[in-house]
Symmetry: C2
Subunit: 429 residues, 2 copies
């Protein structure tokens, strides 16, 4: 590789702007480490004159990111716009076709078009790096691709969305309802002020799960239906009851191979308070991988924010500067296998069920009879009376059962006039 | 790099033998990932006919490891003998001088001769890789060199010796004395049956700290005196009392830069039970790094054993096969700075002190007066009487104080005839 490296940054929001500052700050350090001299030769964003924390050199500013390719030769391009399609995709596509290495933190883009883009990168013998797309400060992609390179990974799970983890931790700590904690998270910058839906409904975590699955199991990215549930319906009552049973509720992303079939899912989980994952609180992210021969590995760190994200972007930059040309997903595209998806009907698990019922004789029996009919066996049952309303909460932890049966059972029980609300179902880890 | 890669393994103990099996098992997987075809062309060990878990090809066996260089061209050599000097050093030296990449899990060798050997590697433009030398299954070296490449690391600490962590965890759990748990650890293969001293006295952890310091702070490996204390003197009594105060005792390796000076240490620490590190039990290893801009990162995994160690050796192998030629310590040797060592007299910390005394009036005053004279302020004081012997344990947790003053103070107090044993001092994290 040549000595002088020309760099372009497209997208100068919080991340792009912080990255620009970091590159300028660490130029000489990078030259020592890699022998390469960095020149930032093009910047692009919607608004040239927007107030930014770190000043930009307006002489190298392009309003249209597709124009940056016309002037000087670019060697490495950072895409930090963040869209799953549109201009983000066009810029990355054009760069790769022009034999320019691309680095991006854009999980929406990679989880949707990663297979397609990695083929272009491979064909043109350039890198497409996306360490920052999953769990910001945690070098999880590098760890799977390099640190655990020859391990057979069988399963991974983790806390992949800091916003949800903050909200759940804070509900437990401050005894506040979801809505109030969400507002607080928005004020603190932990949740998007406009539309935090993609964080809260599990979509963001699922995009990350899909990227990590492709890396872990050497398959193409899955686009098929997957179990995805967010935290919007988690009530303080469930957090309280879980707490008394020595559990915490966490939004987990989980992916595993079951008999050669991929089972990806994102949903709230009851996790034991004494476990490692039960103690990852606040905005922290953590990923646990199970591999052979390595055993269980844990990585934890800050999952988002410009600092950790830039750290990941810079690690990708150094990897490229050191001449580490790699397949984007660790192996050639033609060796990545098509996915066979696990049939959800075969999913067996322990479940937490909560029924809100009228407190009168026979109601408990309706629930237990129906569970028995479906052969769902009860591990623990707690009835919590509410004397004021003459109602009760019946909480059941089941032994491992087919979730399908439990769902059917809930439907039947719900129809009874003594059952006051839609029952709650939360899976155990 | 060429397509056919010739490999030699020197040392066929537990690690070398497992590695041999792994390479043979994963040859085709590695060819897919890297395009390289591996041929194991030389094996060497003391005893050709020793019974091994995995059979060796005796046609490529050399009794004298220095003879392996004479036959075919070797591209990558694994050194798995494990000595700090002697034949281990000679083989590695000769390989590097012959432009052969070297991969080793040998922490004794790297912590002692790493600077010298890395110069030879750099001069000959080959890799010297030692991911497996620190915390087996945790890709900590790769993470510091690559994942956190442009971060400024200010401090790291962790559990780097699984033997000690197992013993301390087990003492707490089973209420058994050090000696009994050590025997149990030896039976289970967690502690060396012959001479476990290098694990127990902190030396093993210190070697790892020195390697990680060099990587984290871009300095040469330190050989200077350092605070090193093992767990041989930790008594069940201290574990019990710590427990009641919501602490656990862990053997930690800690390294930080204080005003440009390096402060490396290994010693037992009182860590809060609610912290992350307080919950890493059994044979697990964990490393926590503090960096800027990334914040706190945590890595946890199995620290030893042939499986995790091989996983690390294989990750080094793949890194080399992918053409990732790197400086062994991340930057050129001439840019690595000489160390200035932190003056231990300036070390300020909170301390746990335990005095065994005769239970009679005035004894407590002797202790508190002496502490007051040295301006050591007490945060907590507990007196636990032992009515049977008319003795008492006086336990003190100090506010942050100069350790030097505390040591002097202990000396003076020890001389008092009412103080029955050498007082115990354990640092807080």
């Amino acid at each position: 590789m040549i000595k002088n490296i020309n760099i372009a940054i497209v997208g100068l929001g919080q991340i792009g702007n912080y990255l620009l500052k970091e590159i300028n700050k660490k130029k000489s350090d990078i030259e020592i480490k890699t022998g390469k001299k960095l020149n930032i030769i093009a910047l692009s964003a919607k608004n040239k004159n927007k107030k930014r924390n770190y000043k930009i050199n307006k002489k190298i500013f392009f309003k249209d990111p597709l124009k940056i390719f016309e002037k000087k030769k670019i060697h490495i391009l950072f895409e930090a716009i963040g869209k799953s399609d549109g201009i983000s995709k066009k810029v990355v596509e054009k760069a790769l076709k022009n034999k320019i290495h691309v680095i991006t933190p854009n999980k929406a883009l990679i989880s949707k078009h990663g297979d397609y883009l990695s083929k272009i990168a491979e064909k043109n013998k350039v890198n497409l790096e996306f360490e920052a797309s999953v769990a910001g400060g945690i070098p999880i992609i590098r760890t799977i691709k390099e640190g655990l390179a020859t391990n057979k990974i069988t399963k991974f799970y983790g806390i992949l969305n800091g916003t949800c983890n903050y909200i759940l931790s804070e509900m437990e700590k401050s005894n506040k309802q979801f809505k109030d904690v969400l507002k607080q998270a928005q004020l603190l910058g932990y949740a998007e002020p406009g539309n935090p839906k993609l964080d809260l409904n599990g979509y963001d975590a699922l995009a990350k799960v899909r990227i990590l699955s492709a890396l872990s199991f050497n398959n193409k990215i899955s686009y098929k239906a997957c179990l995805m549930e967010g935290i919007e319906n988690i009530s303080l009552k469930d957090i309280d009851i879980a707490n008394k049973l020595n559990f915490r509720i966490k939004l987990l992303g989980i992916s595993e191979m079951i008999n050669g079939k991929l089972f990806e899912r994102v949903h709230p989980c009851l996790v034991n308070k004494d476990t490692y994952i039960g103690n990852v609180n606040g905005v922290m992210n953590a990923v646990i991988t199970e591999g052979e021969p390595i055993g269980e590995s844990i990585l934890q760190g800050e999952g988002a924010g410009p600092g950790p994200t830039s750290s990941a972007l810079m690690s990708d930059l150094l990897s490229i500067l050191r001449g580490n040309i790699k397949y984007p997903f660790g192996i050639p595209n033609n060796k990545r296998v098509d996915i066979r998806v696990f049939n959800y009907d075969n999913y067996i698990n322990s479940l937490y069920l909560r029924f809100e019922v009228k407190d009168k004789p026979g109601v408990l029996a309706i629930i237990t009879d129906n569970l028995a009919k479906k052969k769902i066996s009860v591990e623990r049952l707690i009835q919590i009376p509410n004397y004021k309303n003459k109602t009760a909460s019946i909480v059941i932890i089941t032994h491992k059962s087919y979730e399908k049966d439990a769902q059917n059972c809930i439907k039947i029980i719900s129809k009874n006039k003594n059952v006051l609300k839609k029952p709650t179902l939360i899976r155990l880890l």
